[in-house]
Symmetry: C2
Subunit: 295 residues, 2 copies
């Protein structure tokens, strides 16, 4: 058995060290934006997406330093999305990972810029020669991350989320929203190791299917924590979906069926990994961890 | 002699057509963000940065369809920066190219997302195989554009601009601000043709030097138009720098010296092109156009 908590912690430490080196403070006056980027990127989190990258890459004997760079790039995109989503014009959140959000701490303008620069930096990291000796792999990573993050991925999902304030969504619509908003980036994280390792199409398809079910399970638990979680444990204000009158998996299914569904999806995700040996145990362990987490 | 106005118009038409195809409207509910992206990207403008890309690429016999894609990517980044800079939390502008700004038309949240997606799309376009047969070139383009756009480039410059509201800048500081805020992307536009054409280091250095002087000249004229321009001609509200108490080249040098300086910089930019034949006439013509423009 994999000790998933310590595997996550080890991976998070490596990602944090990499990000620390990537965002050096300077004495230049514009370094305020780098300060805000550091605040956004280094204030903790479980680093689940980077873990998916490195655990996926391990299946194909990818050079660990390559996987770490892609893991960091995915986390930069995730952090940028949190900074922008938390803005007053968007979800207007003041607390994130138990700390004031970036715009509360640095002001709105700096938060917008810090998000922009985190997103930009992610692509720079992917395209640099240190990410893979084969430039075709680097270009492929850029294309796939851009698709996952852009208007037909994460940004499209956030757009749907904003529109949902004016229109009560069906279960099908909520599923689509989440597939874009959180699923697309989780999908990239899960297949990026296969891109780095030039894996077979069938391996890539298996990881894609794993990501699909994992992403939904993850989101259902997020919705449950928003209803049932303790803000001090979850690290952000809870009850927000309900207050906003938003349809979520919990409002649509009820908490019991939602919890059952998340467990079922996690098991289904694990079954997609059958073609892999016990090298995939970290991915299996993560699927179980995700549905049992308390924050 | 090059007819620079018609050359600009021809190039703008090609860029517009490309962007039109790149941003197809769909019936998906999240297409509202694509509508906002189209509004931001296709509402005109002289397309000076794309022109620099294609005029630079023509020096090295680059396949025109490659150059067009890079030109469009640069314009996407430029348009994203305008959308975010115009936001209420930033420069709070309501008029751009004679039309309501994106956040006035679509709301702040959609404007933030549209900017994010335009930036993301630029990297997708660069990294796709159609941009160059050699993936190393595509990766290099992504790295260089990310540097030009990120915290040590355009975003850094906008950060300085925001800080300038609380601190009166010296001429040296204004120069640095503009080198980052507008100069970095103009610099990428000018050297991208050399990257596409795998040009010599000396050719690249010459284009970099041209970009440096052109960028400053461009900005000085922008500052002059903010003071002396007619809003209906300039297409945006004028007098904003003065109202904000910001130091600009005009407040620092006075309008007469500023105009003289811009003309001198344009001539200096042109001299950097001496190593090129009359193939560089469009770049020479553009430098003269930039300092003589009325909007």
């Amino acid at each position: 058995m994999v000790d998933i908590k310590s595997a996550l912690a080890d991976n998070a430490r490596a990602v944090n060290d990499f990000l620390d080196g990537l965002l050096p403070m300077t004495s230049d006056p514009e370094a305020r934006v780098i300060e805000a980027m550091r605040y956004a990127a280094m204030s903790g989190g479980k680093r689940i997406r980077p873990f998916l990258v490195t655990a996926g890459a391990a299946l194909f004997d990818v050079t660990p330093s390559y996987a770490l760079r892609v893991a960091a790039a995915v986390e930069l995109v995730h952090c940028y999305s949190l900074v922008h989503d938390d803005l007053p014009a968007m979800d207007d959140d003041e607390l994130r990972r138990g700390l004031p959000t970036v715009h509360v701490k640095f002001g709105e303008a700096t938060a917008i810029l810090a998000g922009d620069a985190l997103l930009t930096l992610a692509f720079e990291v992917l395209a640099q020669p240190a990410t893979h000796s084969d430039p075709r792999v680097r270009s492929d990573l850029v294309v796939e991350l851009a698709r996952a993050a852009g208007a037909e991925g994460m940004v499209g999902g956030q757009m749907l989320d904003l529109l949902a304030e004016h229109h009560r969504l069906s279960e099908q619509e909520v599923t689509r929203l989440q597939r874009l908003k959180t699923g697309a980036l989780i999908g990239f994280a899960c297949i990026s190791g296969a891109i780095l390792g030039k894996a077979s199409d069938s391996a890539r398809a298996a990881l894609h299917a794993y990501a699909h079910d994992l992403g939904l399970a993850f989101q259902i638990v997020d919705d449950l924590l928003d209803v049932e979680g303790d803000p001090s444990e979850v690290g952000k204000n809870t009850g927000k979906d309900e207050a906003a009158g938003k349809a979520t998996f919990v409002t649509l299914l009820g908490p019991e069926r939602a919890r059952h569904q998340s467990a079922m999806l996690a098991e289904q995700a694990i079954r997609h990994l059958d073609m892999f040996s016990d090298d995939a145990d970290p991915l299996r362990g993560l699927a179980r961890f995700v549905v049992n987490r308390r924050n």
